[in-house]
Amino acid sequence: MMRFLLLFSRQGKLRLQKWFTPMTEREKKKITRDMTTMVLSRQPRSCNFLHWKDLKIIYKRYASLYFCLAIDNQENELIALEVIQRYVELLDKYFGNVCELDIIFNFEKAYFILDEFLIGGEIQETSKQMVNRSIEASDMLQETMEEYMSKPAF
């Protein structure tokens, strides 16, 4: 099971946080600080796997964003790397050449996409096209409702 997913910039600013187990705000803040310090201090071409407490931390850098995923000790690290890769591809398809600004200004959409890909710390859909179709359909639903109510979207 995945425990949490964090996205942060090279300056350590948090862009997205998804927690799959209940934790207090203080714990979340502490973990975020620990993760950013640990990951940002890694050498450029080192191994993508870390050990932290009783979890494995998988991190990967895409442009200016660090994706940091924590998994249980028995999980497969290599497939976790693929999970991160898949999420980035989904974001890329949705936003078209995604960059950090897209995620900053449309953070709620990034969450919606994540919620179509992962649930409760597990993968829910293994097909890229299915996830994309679901997102588009949900967006359509939202827009038609909005148009109907003639109110602006975000």
Binding site: I104, F107, I119, F154
Partner: protein, 799 residues
Amino acid sequence: MSPSVPLQEMIRAIRSARTQCEERGVIQRECAAIRAQFRQADNGGRSHNLAKLLYVHMLGYPAHFGQMECVRMIASPRYSEKRVGYLGAMMLLDEKQDASLLITNSIKNDLSHSNQYVQSLALCTLACMGSAEMCRDLAPEIDRLLRASNSYIKKKAALCAVHIVRKVHDLGELFAPAARSLLAEKNHGVLHGAVVLIIELCERNPETLERFRKTVPDLVQIMKGLVLSGYSPEHDVAGISDPFLQVRILRLLRILGHNNEGASDAMNDLLAQVATNTDSTKTVGNAVLYETVLTVLDIKSESGLRVLAVNILGRFLLNNDRNIRYIAMTSLQKIVGTDHNAVQRHRGTIVDCLKDQDASVKRRALELSLALVSASNIRSMMKELLLFLSSCPAELKAHSTSGIFNAAERYAPSQRWHIDTILHVLTTAGGDVRDETVPNLIQLITNASELHCYTVHKLYRALLTDISTQSLVQVACWCIGEYGDLLLRGECQETEPVQVTEDDVLDALETVLQSHMSSPATRGFALTATMKLSTRITENVDRIRSIVSIYGSCIDVELQQRAVEYNALFKKYDHMRAAVLERMPVIEKNSPGHTNGESMGDAIKDIQPAKMKQGEPLLALQPANQVCDLLDLLGGSEETLQPSPATGPAVPGLLINTASTAGGDLLDLLGGLEPALLAPAPTVPVYENEGVTLTLSCEKQSDTGLTVTLTASNSTDSDISSFTLQAAVPKSVQLHMKAPSGDSLPARGTAKVTQMVVLNNPNKVNLKMRVRISYSSQGSAFQDTVQIDSFPGLNAAGH
């Protein structure tokens, strides 16, 4: 009150703030506006207000006042508001917040909504933050959705069920039948969810595991389909068809095949197929191979398959990708105990990884290398390990040194090699070694008597180069003190002898004494060494005398005490000086980490509970013998004047050095000695029943008198009260029971009750005693009787 701006404008405003203070100001204004908006009645902008609040929350500012708004939004009929409301619930509400219960009803309603996207929101939120009560409430709904809905909902319901089972273990039974039927689905999302659910159920309940073993053929079928099928655009990732599903199924097969011959056989072919057919050029393929290897190694696979798996790991070790090398070593670490030979074949590659740049890889390589050291490869491995030690990162140093010492201890081919290795470690990483290294090394040196000359030369040279490593300096001082005469003789077979004068040696020791870098213990070593040299050198005894008298007024109490005593040794006891300071005998070898005292203490304890047979020699003698042995050992040991406080009156005339660590061992020896002296009578357990134990010890007071001490303890979980003992003895023996220490025995042995019984046996008959034990525990009374026929410390006749 400024008008609320749409979300993106707010984000822009926050980002353009140049200082933290400015940002705080913007956010405070926005939050105030949002709060005001929340208080107003329904307006169109509710969803983007909440979205703004969530952004602010992500930056780290408090956002708890949005919780009720989330609850309201979730209940709204509009999809856009529901969407943001549920997102807010997942971010702001967790099961620890009270407000989370309020959304249970909304979730329940939305689970049966006509629109599947609304259903999906509810499912997602429940799986993310559902508390145990919510899960219990909604479990039947989820079960319904698992059976009868479209695949979009089924896959989400499956993972929701996983979350429910994690929160409320008993509900696993509820979902087992549905999970079974889901395996027949074609949709990969649903299949994946079903496999995850089955894994969760099997891990929690062994009976469920048994039932699901029957699904192995189906799973094998599904895997075969994935591996052998042609290109499928929906699920293809770099040539592998749905690697996520493959990995999950392999994981489930691992759980089902673990410790089960039948299931393992059924999946053997499949695993071989996956292992050979999977393309390993990309990470994805390697991920599947990795999972396959883990499965093969964990089930009862046939040996051919195991060899295949280890070979795959060997290939991984040669992969350019650092990640792959890392996980290869992690996996090899797990099997190095069971498949040692197979892993040995890859030793060369593993040792190469010690030189890798990456700290994680280095750590793994170190652990694996230490596990692979054996008698046959010790020399080459140690070379590599010592090389590694010189460039190893700081956090690994302590682990490396202890690993190297253990390996050297177990497989040293010769004593000289062993000593060399330890010295090498001390010079490279002396600051990170454990404390018992110094006494261990000293003990090793004394044992290697033919190498004394060689050792002292090496250590002297090391001391001249560098006096910062305390452990090395301590050993060097000790050696110079002991074998200084060998150093001064100027000849050595094993190594280049140094030409030193007595002044040079004393200079070296004095440098250590005076240096700021030396710890108090090190200075103690140096002072003692200087003193010892007084009998080994001929000319500069006056210099030693003056050093010693200077330190007689040293601020450090330990040094001062030593110096004063050494001074006395020069003045009043000069006749004894030579005897006191002569060469030390070989120190007894004990297992690492144990002091002499402990092992001796163990030996004593071993005798005590031994079953007494008739005719056994006087037991009282044996501990006394041990005591004598200990005394002998002490007689030959460290020779300075300071009497140890622990021995006090019991060991007359023996002089123990307290502070040197070798002496420290001996002090522990005395610590082990003490109880032996003070309690020479062994205790024997005579009764044990229902958690109540009674032990007996006796002490002969005179020819006919005997004092027996009965000790009772209670190891149950409940207290015992009104505990009484009654004793009966043969007619001619007189019995006098003293008052017991108490009559209650608290639970779990926290306190004991002792009772002394004085016996007088004037006719010297065969001594027997019958003891009746009565007590009450948990409201009921217990009574029992035990007969004691033999008393420890007395011979068979009871005299």
